[in-house]
């Protein structure tokens, strides 16, 4: 009787362990695969030539595999989205946490959740059909697809994570702090910005890092609005991101070109890893505080 029960407990335990290990194994497998698949092209092309080469011409007779345009486009695109999106998202979060009436708050939060759930191909589609022509007309350029359109689409896409994570950490600020400030005669606005926001600082920072991660990893939506030509980035120029560089050539690539695409994926992976490390740092800091 007793042994039977133990056997049951142990097998359940083992099943849970195996299920848990699937996640860990996937991460390890993907990391190893990317490293092994990504390194050969880098060693053939040369690390410096690969990372800092400013020309990408993978299908030419004499091919060039410089991914600096992609790296810069990804960095500029994400930074642009952060520069525009963080103030909007941050102030929205402060408003929702501290000022909004319950009904307004409920509606806004549902809208934010919905925004987070929209598939990125839909963002791309709307960007393609509405934003790109609008940019073309507004600035009088032949084609509206380019870095600016990508930045604007990314901005909207990162808003939900910035708003939600900032909101959660603002709402976690103990009410006692705010009461203490108000009781000293500080106005509500002073209280938000001198007490609540500093107390929620690490959560707000984490939300920004999360936004960076979302921005740098996005492929479909930016591919549809960025023009997708491997140029050095400029606001109105057609550009290609790290993600879209992999996605757009993978289906017909072969040989060194295909290997180079894996190397791009590896670079992207390292970026994301770095962002995760930063995120973990802030999350941990939050707990310590």
């Amino acid at each position: 009787m007793k042994n039977k029960k133990n056997l049951f407990e142990n097998s359940i335990h083992a099943i849970f362990l195996i299920l848990g290990l699937i996640t860990v194994a996937s991460v390890i497998l993907i990391s190893l695969y990317l490293i092994f698949a990504g390194l050969p092209a880098i060693s053939k092309i040369g690390l410096k030539e690969f990372l800092f080469g400013s020309e990408w011409a993978s299908t030419r007779e004499d091919p060039k595999f410089g991914i600096l345009p992609f790296i810069l486009t990804s960095v500029y695109g994400t930074s642009g989205a952060i520069v525009i999106g963080v103030p909007i998202g941050f102030f929205t979060a402060v408003y929702l946490a501290k000022e909004a009436r319950p009904a307004v708050k409920r509606v806004t939060i549902s809208a934010v959740n919905l925004l987070a759930g929209i598939p990125s191909v839909v963002y791309g589609l709307v960007g393609m059909l509405v934003l790109v022509p609008a940019i073309r007309k507004a600035f009088g350029i032949p084609d509206g697809a380019g870095l600016l359109a990508a930045i604007l689409v990314l901005t909207v896409m990162i808003l939900p994570s910035i708003i939600k994570v900032s909101l959660t950490s603002l709402e976690a600020v103990p009410k006692e702090y705010e009461d203490g400030s108000l009781a000293l005669g500080a106005s509500p606005t002073e209280t938000y910005f001198r007490i609540s926001v500093p107390a929620a600082k690490s959560g707000i920072t984490a939300s920004i890092v999360l936004g960076v991660g979302r921005g740098i990893g996005e492929a479909m939506a930016v591919m549809m609005v960025s023009g997708n030509a491997p140029n050095m980035p400029a606001l109105f120029r057609s550009v290609r991101f790290l993600t879209t560089a992999v996605a757009s050539e993978m289906s017909y690539s072969s040989g060194l070109q295909r290997q180079a695409l894996f190397s791009i994926a590896l670079v992207l992976f390292l970026f994301i890893m770095m962002i995760n490390a930063i995120l973990n740092y802030f999350m941990k800091k939050d707990k310590v505080d």
């Binding site: 203490g180 009781a183 500080a186 106005s187 107390a199 505080d289």
Partner: protein, 250 residues
């Protein structure tokens, strides 16, 4: 001189009638203790005096609360200015998550003082008046959250004093503290009444008897009686007061 005079005050939380027809005068530069069993309305009452009840939705207040002859709920009152004059110390010590120095300097900075020398002076004076200067003077730049509960509460008193209030509202300021810290805060309150009018909610009748000049007994939202502390504890005029102070309930 009365610092507060309250006439026919009623307060509702939504439907519930939390304070009923309160009439009460509070003498300046003295300690007034508010006693009564939990839920009797004494904390609600004290929070009406600096309008912290404004922050709670669905509160309705009727009647007159006059601070120095002026109705604090009249529309021309600047709530922030009012709260600066009527400081508050909370039940649970609530230092801000910043340095000891910044905690005390928070109020003065809010009210426009920028000069480092002036802030230094205010911080030192306030911490001295709150009898905690000697314990913290070597670690002013350290986080206030590293202090003990009793030290945190005295820091909160210092923080309240730093904006030079006239009145200090204390909502069970020692209920979260150990006996030694409690004694220190009590001693401090007696010291402070020379310059400030203190209104203190307390659960502890010995505390009220020890340090207050006047005591008001609240029960079920009503003010049952208020008088000289010695008188209230030796010859209560209402049966309910007598029952409460002799420990028959509460």
């Amino acid at each position: 001189m009365n610092v507060f005079s309250i006439e026919n005050m009623n307060l509702w939380y939504g439907e519930s009638h939390a304070l009923k027809d309160i009439n009460l005068d509070i003498e300046e530069k003295s300690i007034t203790a508010l006693i009564g069993p939990s839920g009797c309305g004494k904390s609600t009452f004290i929070k009406s005096l600096n309008r912290m009840n404004d922050l709670i939705p669905n509160v309705k207040i009727e009647g007159n609360i006059k601070y120095k002859g002026h109705d604090i709920y009249s529309p021309d009152v600047d709530v922030n200015e009012l709260r600066r004059e009527i400081g508050m110390v909370f039940q649970k010590p609530n230092p801000f998550p910043m340095s000891i120095y910044d905690n005390v300097a928070y109020g003065p900075r809010t009210h426009g003082i920028r000069s480092k020398a002036m802030l230094d002076e205010i911080v030192e004076k306030s911490l001295q008046n709150a009898a905690i200067w000697d314990e913290v003077k070597d670690r002013l730049k350290k986080s206030a959250l590293g202090l003990s509960g009793g030290q945190q509460q005295r820091l909160c008193i210092a923080r309240a004093l730093a904006v030079e209030p006239r009145v200090l509202l204390m909502d069970e300021p020692t209920s979260a503290l150990d006996p030694i810290s409690t004694a220190k805060v009590e001693e401090l309150a007696v010291e402070l009444k020379n310059n400030y009018s203190i209104i203190m909610v307390t659960h502890n009748m010995q505390q009220a008897a020890r340090i207050s000049d006047y005591t008001a007994f609240f029960f079920l939202g009503e003010l049952i009686e208020m008088s000289n502390t010695d008188l209230l504890f030796s010859k209560p005029s209402d049966k309910r007061t007598e029952d409460y102070i002799t420990g028959r309930f509460g």
